[in-house]
Symmetry: C2
Subunit: 362 residues, 2 copies
């Protein structure tokens, strides 16, 4: 048995999750291009492709490089690359695989074109559009004009548009995932049509995350969805109603190291083991604590120090020093990012696997 704390992945559940999303995409006639930031494992990316994904999505050129080294040949870097050295790496990588990169500004796109041109190359580009999340993405009302500008750059092939909106409407978190997903899809299809009316050829209309992808996929004109978290699910998705807790395939295994009093115990996982980016008590989820404790669903992982998790217990709960607890994290993507290795459990066997694309910050 591995030493705690460690991240345990139930491969049977993972396979079911992979298959379910592939079927949603197929039933809706859209392509599936999973975001692999959730698992950062080439082996799981390959399973997603075997189940029908057309390629993968990553956030960084360094992640794309790792995935390509391990045989993934169709990668979308859904992030604006704006520095010379990263664009150089993108051009280099696009000689060996089908690479698409994001852009959301004319400065950025011009840099892509200039550097591609210097190498006698043409880069595939998608324009990122903000549909209300206020992150990267050209403002919606400025998107057609920018698409037109980018379309005229000599060494770029503008093949599509994409957006990320998550479980939000008008920039506010929402539980109405169906409306959020449909709106996201409709906004982008409308924009693609406007671009086509301007003579800009837009093939790919890429939308949808784990909470909204199944709804966005049903919008006529959407061509691709990019969910990531669905491969494992997590407590946040379960609270959103996207999965059940039982469909969560990844848990942190911890050991009770201290039981100082009747009403709390301490486990050996803190903020260096569980991500803290999805905080308890925030609207609209109102998650209690930093994870769901499988062995005690009413107990609350209330506070985290760096290496301590403080669990509030009903008085005289029987947890004792040495007990192992399985805790489903609030957010699996950023939690997995803390772990150099994960443990894949399959049919009674446990494999220690390095998270190859983890820590690829550059």
């Amino acid at each position: 048995m591995p030493e705690t704390p460690y991240l345990l992945i139930d491969m049977a559940k993972t396979r079911v999750n992979i298959q379910a999303m592939a079927e949603i995409a197929e039933a809706n006639g859209v392509r599936l291009r999973p975001h692999t930031k959730t698992h950062k494992l080439p082996s799981l990316a390959k399973r997603q492709m075997e189940a029908g994904a057309v390629g993968i999505t990553v956030a960084k050129i360094s992640e794309a490089e790792v995935m390509a080294q391990h045989g993934i040949e169709d990668i979308f870097v859904a992030y604006p690359l704006v520095t010379e050295s990263k664009v150089e790496r993108a051009v280099e990588l696009s000689r060996t695989i089908r690479l698409i990169v994001g852009a959301d500004s004319y400065e950025g796109a011009r840099k892509l074109s200039d550097i591609a041109g210097r190498h006698g190359h043409v880069l595939n580009v998608r324009l990122e559009v903000d549909t209300g999340f206020k992150r990267t993405g050209v403002l919606y009302d400025e998107a057609v004009a920018l698409a037109d500008q980018i379309n005229r750059l000599p060494h770029l092939s503008l093949t599509g548009i994409y957006t990320f909106r998550g479980a939000t409407i008008d920039g506010q978190a929402t539980l109405d995932l169906e409306r959020a997903g449909i709106e996201e899809g409709q906004l982008m299809v409308k924009l693609a049509d406007e671009m086509r009316n301007q003579g800009i050829s837009i093939t790919d209309v890429s939308v949808g995350s784990t909470p909204t992808g199944r709804y966005a996929a049903g919008v006529r004109g959407v061509t691709e969805i990019r969910p990531g978290t669905y491969i494992f699910n997590d407590r946040m998705q379960a609270m959103l109603g996207v999965s059940t807790l039982d469909e969560c395939a990844a848990a942190i295994v911890t050991t009770v190291v201290s039981r100082p009093a009747a009403d709390y115990c301490i486990v050996d996982g803190g903020s260096k083991t569980f991500a803290t980016d999805v905080q308890p008590g925030t609207e609209p989820l109102q998650l209690k604590g930093f994870g769901h404790i499988a062995e005690a669903p009413d107990a609350v992982l209330e506070r985290l120090s760096e290496e301590h998790g403080i669990i509030r217990l009903a008085p005289h709960h029987p947890f004792r020093v040495g007990d192992r607890l399985h805790i489903i994290p609030n957010h699996i993507c950023s939690t997995l990012n803390l772990h150099n290795n994960v443990y894949l459990a399959d049919g009674g066997l446990i494999d220690k696997v390095p998270v190859l694309a983890r820590g690829m910050l550059e």
Copy 2:
């Protein structure tokens, strides 16, 4: 120049910070045993020892192993080790270096003694005491009785007591660091005296963190302080008044990747680059955002996605796509933990250094 985002450490400032804390310890006649969870770098641990530290503190046996492999010979694992395999590793390590381990329960201590005895060995142990932080540590009122029990275990040498209280009083966060530090020291000295009155030999009374260490060090009877963050300082410490922002030696270097509108821009660091365990807006610090932006102190790093930092700007602030920003994180310890490598800047040179004891979760 490294690719962004990366963690840049100013070695000149780091040396000043190392020296300043060594002088505080020396002036107060206490030993300094820095917690190396902040940097996880054997090379910096050595610098701390060269400046006068008697040894180091770590949170995990795996960290101790890495530090020992790199020549650190006096290590305190300030954490209760309660599983067979970790205790075995502690016994093994204590054959080659001076190792001290924590304990806070009779079950845990008995396991330490049993396994040490099996190998014909005696382990150095300190008892962890809760002085109000409600984390690990035997309850204060039960500490003398437990020390007596542990003292009778055949294969342990109970050499001291320790606590962690941080910037809190009675479990509440406080800005009155002097009172917090003095109280922490006094509580532990009183306890050590009570134990000695029971015939238990207590040599080490170990207290104090970066915010409180300088005050706890002045309490007569305290023998050791264990600050960690002071080596770099961070925005939280600056807000506490422990350092100035200028004394913060570590910053995340990011690139502006998008400027979609007049009032915000996006940098290429999110919750996989900046830790989120010290959240904005919490009492009593009321930090605005997730870091201090050196190039624009009034701008607010307001939201983080996994790979995006959303910065609210005064309208028409001149940041442009491609600009590099240096951001002092709220909490350097958990932020550094996200990075496989850090970049040490010294006299115009920048060295890429692997964070050797990072990710040692086990």
